[in-house]
Symmetry: C2
Subunit: 716 residues, 2 copies
Amino acid sequence: MNTHHPLHLLLNPSSIAIVGANNNPMKMGTMHALSILKDGFAGTLYPVHPREKEVLGLVAYPSVEKLPVVPDLAILVVPSSEIINLVEEFGKRGTRRIIIITAGFRETGDKGKAEEERLKETAARYGIRFLGPNCMGVINTSISLNTTVMTLNMKEGRLGMVSQSGTYISQTLSYLAKRGIRFSKAISVGNSTDISLTDALEYLGDDEATTAIALYIEGIAEPKHFLEVAKRIVPKKPIVAQYVGGSIAGARASQSHTGALAASDHLYDGLFKQAGIIRVYSVEDLYGHGWMLASQPRLKGNRVAVLTNSGGPGSSMAHTCEKQGFIIPEFSPHLRKKIEPLVPPHAPCGNPVDITFSMDVEVLSRKIPEIVMESGEVDAVVLHGTMRSGFIKAIYPHIVDMLNGISLESILDMVRIDFSASASLPKKYGIPMAISSFFDFEDDFTTAYHAHDVPVYDSPEKAAIALASLLRYREILQRVENKNDVFLTEKRQFAESLLITAKQQGQTVLDEFHSKRIIASYGLPIADEVLVYGEDELQRAIETIGFPLVLKACSHTIPHKTGKGLIFLNVNSTAECLTAFRNIQTNAGQKVPVLASRMIKGEREFMVGFLRHELFGGVVLFGIGGIFAETINDVTFRLAPLSISDARYMIEDIKHAALLQSVRNLPHVDVNALANIIAVVSSIGVNHPHIQEIDINPIIIEGASPVIVDALIVLK
Amino acid sequence: MNTHHPLHLLLNPSSIAIVGANNNPMKMGTMHALSILKDGFAGTLYPVHPREKEVLGLVAYPSVEKLPVVPDLAILVVPSSEIINLVEEFGKRGTRRIIIITAGFRETGDKGKAEEERLKETAARYGIRFLGPNCMGVINTSISLNTTVMTLNMKEGRLGMVSQSGTYISQTLSYLAKRGIRFSKAISVGNSTDISLTDALEYLGDDEATTAIALYIEGIAEPKHFLEVAKRIVPKKPIVAQYVGGSIAGARASQSHTGALAASDHLYDGLFKQAGIIRVYSVEDLYGHGWMLASQPRLKGNRVAVLTNSGGPGSSMAHTCEKQGFIIPEFSPHLRKKIEPLVPPHAPCGNPVDITFSMDVEVLSRKIPEIVMESGEVDAVVLHGTMRSGFIKAIYPHIVDMLNGISLESILDMVRIDFSASASLPKKYGIPMAISSFFDFEDDFTTAYHAHDVPVYDSPEKAAIALASLLRYREILQRVENKNDVFLTEKRQFAESLLITAKQQGQTVLDEFHSKRIIASYGLPIADEVLVYGEDELQRAIETIGFPLVLKACSHTIPHKTGKGLIFLNVNSTAECLTAFRNIQTNAGQKVPVLASRMIKGEREFMVGFLRHELFGGVVLFGIGGIFAETINDVTFRLAPLSISDARYMIEDIKHAALLQSVRNLPHVDVNALANIIAVVSSIGVNHPHIQEIDINPIIIEGASPVIVDALIVLK
């Protein structure tokens, strides 16, 4: 635990002052105060109120100055116009942590933005670190602290949550309680004027009570820093994130909400992959997968047992598990023999195991899972059909007449089961388990699973998909185990001079030849080529390179050559060569140098790029190249600088990654050479601040080897 | 309503006999009987029991013969060994509909399979139509008939359900009740020995009480018939289906369960698309999307309003709606002006509308939705944040002390709202609405929405995705409005003779030349070509076709030529031509005819295929062709014969459909010509029963026109 982190004191105060609470239970400030008062926080709460003598049964103080102690934390729920003065007063009083619930700053326009700046300066002057404005505050279940407006109703948990929407740590509290999902800490960061989402992530990374972290993100202000922090955390604990943004109306809604920075979904996707963050697309999965990751043991392999009391859910779980990358191994004869006596004749017991409808809940809930976990034949269990009180309640109206007035409660009392025998299996065997139940939290099996941190989902597919988040994390850990040092080559002076000269001459782009010279100076493979200024130099080019040739106009004034008669492919004779040269001059409408290159033939084309993004900084791109690049649009992004292992993952990450394999008589692509191109391009971008963009397309695979065929460098 | 359909009487009996019920409430037979007795069925139930005089308070009859009336329906829940005798007895007594709950037939192996055959014959002898065996029976909410083992707890509804898993119409009944999802009819088909899934689908298609149909499928025994039936229904009402199968363990689980026929996921996907069925991947979506489709008005366009009391859910709904194909139009100034007075200053009201946290539930639940629906600016509404009792319950523990002992119930009584004002909006305006609520069924808004058939989902993304099922149905209806007659050309005698001759000569495949002759006889575009038997014929080929040429070995003994030195591309001179011819002879190791074809150049390659599938019959394939066809694996299937509109949809349906568009200087592909190839290939397959498989790959796009470059016909 990092006790020096600004959030440490904010989440663990002994005393809290609240400004904005009164005795009207429907006022927001009061609701925040009530949560602190009623949910078990053992510290002291000091209401500040200009007129009331008593607030919620506590002595109220007329001003900050009059407070009997220096509170560790202040919570402000007053109109935005009063905030800065209050920060000033708390600053003078000596308080160093503040939660500003109040909205009405940056998100309201220019005036609010200026106010927010002034707020930041004021706090900084006093060394105050604050959360918000425009947030819901925090939850720390280990000290029963809840500063939101809703009832906590949650014991100590293991999922750390950081949210850019206050709703997801308040409106959802009863939703979470029903599902047995429990936070360790939850932090609503609001406008992140001071303490940011990344700060909160960093804190949870060091927090022993937190075993997995869930992030709700509408935009990250400092992606590079976020990446560094996340990369440090992921080897220790999993991070799952939902990113909402990158769409037109989404940006409209989101910017108007927290004023967060939205960017292309592609970029965030790349950021998450590079960081090893598991991405989800709904808040249900954010919680549900987060809880799976927080509560279950690490997965040791990809073999899953599918156990059910009904064919439909069993088939669906099996189908979904396989789609998610699990294998469902057929059980050994030895294991089958142990299960067979427990199930009806003809019931499938080779995995999936379907005990069919049965009143003997012990068999499905404990006996079979335990036999299966003991066997060593699987690494995880997904189980559908445990039920007791939910089932009995459902059929009670039908049987009540036959029971001579026995109450539902008495029946439930009669059927006693040691639920914990099933619920404690994951911990006992170190094997994760996911439960699917159509009775969800209305069944006492569910209650027991919740108490033992075993996640329960309300449909079979959902249980299987949530379980697969453990598989995703396993894949991530295997990746980060590889050497992952950032790749940076020495800066080449030749390249830097070339760029500076072009810049000084007022060029906005380098021509193809000079773009490639820079790339070649870093040792990347370029097709042999000669820049030809006049017809007399053509013969030398032919001798140097040989046929077939490609001839292209080469000038920084013509960055895009396609479709203008400026490119001649497959030139096979001196005569053709001359004709092509002359045609280029004519079509260009000016005297233009011609780049004569060896014609590279290959069936597979890729592209690599670099661009300097306003928000993300240097960004590297890899994808399918060639003339269909934009149509196919199969690209992946990472932040520069990256590691060789990042570059390799980019190559595996595109949808058409199978094209790299040996196909028909084409060899497997030299992936090391391709990864090297990506890493070096990233380094070139980082080394030379004059570069705005590097666009290498296509890289043609000749035999197994990537060769750079066209390139363009755009200056900043 | 089709009163002649075998399911009509089965679902609407006046009298039911049940065999297998006794007075033990935990026995399956008793549970089935209890459902009939207790859930409101107004007809008469006659227990048959050899020993008991009374069962569940009813007179029990010792045998079928002794029944006082001829029951319309019999339900059998006895050991499988007794089933056939009972069917016989009911047959003699005059009963013509039976539900066989009992399992233990086909799914247990060969002996069970034979028994099932005998069962079928026995029933047929008496004109009995039966459901099952190995099923849960039926639900008909319009007469409160429930033959499953679980309590119905469901008023009359509109979703028709057919399931190959009994669980999905029984174990899930309380799950459905909580979510306000109500069946019109539900039919568990079990082994489908007599009445099949398709029969049930057909019945629901004609059933006025059913406005949408949900299918849980593990395998369809008669895909062609299913397609015909579904195609007739879809223009009248939407069908949504989950298919679970096509995976290794899925098949293992599923076959052992209902013994259903599983096949490639690709084939079922094609079947659903051809039929206009909306596919889902979880039972949650099967119900949730089914209920949206059953309960909401048809969508008239793709403009959606996103209304919320919280930024997070608002952003997520907007993001998800856009991903699903909705647009979120910015409201007109006129409309904004109407909303502005209702929301706090600075609150976004241009769509999304975010009223932020507010106690005035009328604004979010009724006023704004009504203004928006009235405006004509949107076609659908998605709404998050309505809450009353759920919210009050959640904060009650915090405020109870301040309320001088006022009970929760009294508070709830004090805050009276006309919930139906919001819940009746979709019907009033004919505009669909989806609700997202974290309080789900614990809120009285939810109760009201349920009562008015407005679907409520427990997360914002789920509401948005469910709403999009209406968009999917709209797209389907637009497609089926097009002329959709099956395309079949006249059978060509030339082709038939060629096939018969080859067959008689014991060939298993046709060589490329003859395969193409058959295809060409149907008018499809083949590259000019000449079959050359000796060197002396080469010159004639050159004169006929011109350079560049392609030379390929052509023999039915060498169906696969790649990588064996049997193909020479881009042959540009007579000398090269002769060398190629000789090399082919050498590499083939035999004297072999050579096919000399015009070299077709083009950047885009597709493939079309036909195959005769054991289960699906004639199946047509379209996808990306060329040497990477298998690597890219972008294909779509349909059943033959198909329509031109089916063929066009196949072309749009592949993932790389954008390749058909104009890219750089390549023109838009002639889609009519490509669709014609698909339709004609389908027709060739249908016309000639000797064909097992047609494999056309590649079809190269030359300019805009598809040209068939290679083809192979495999004989049956």
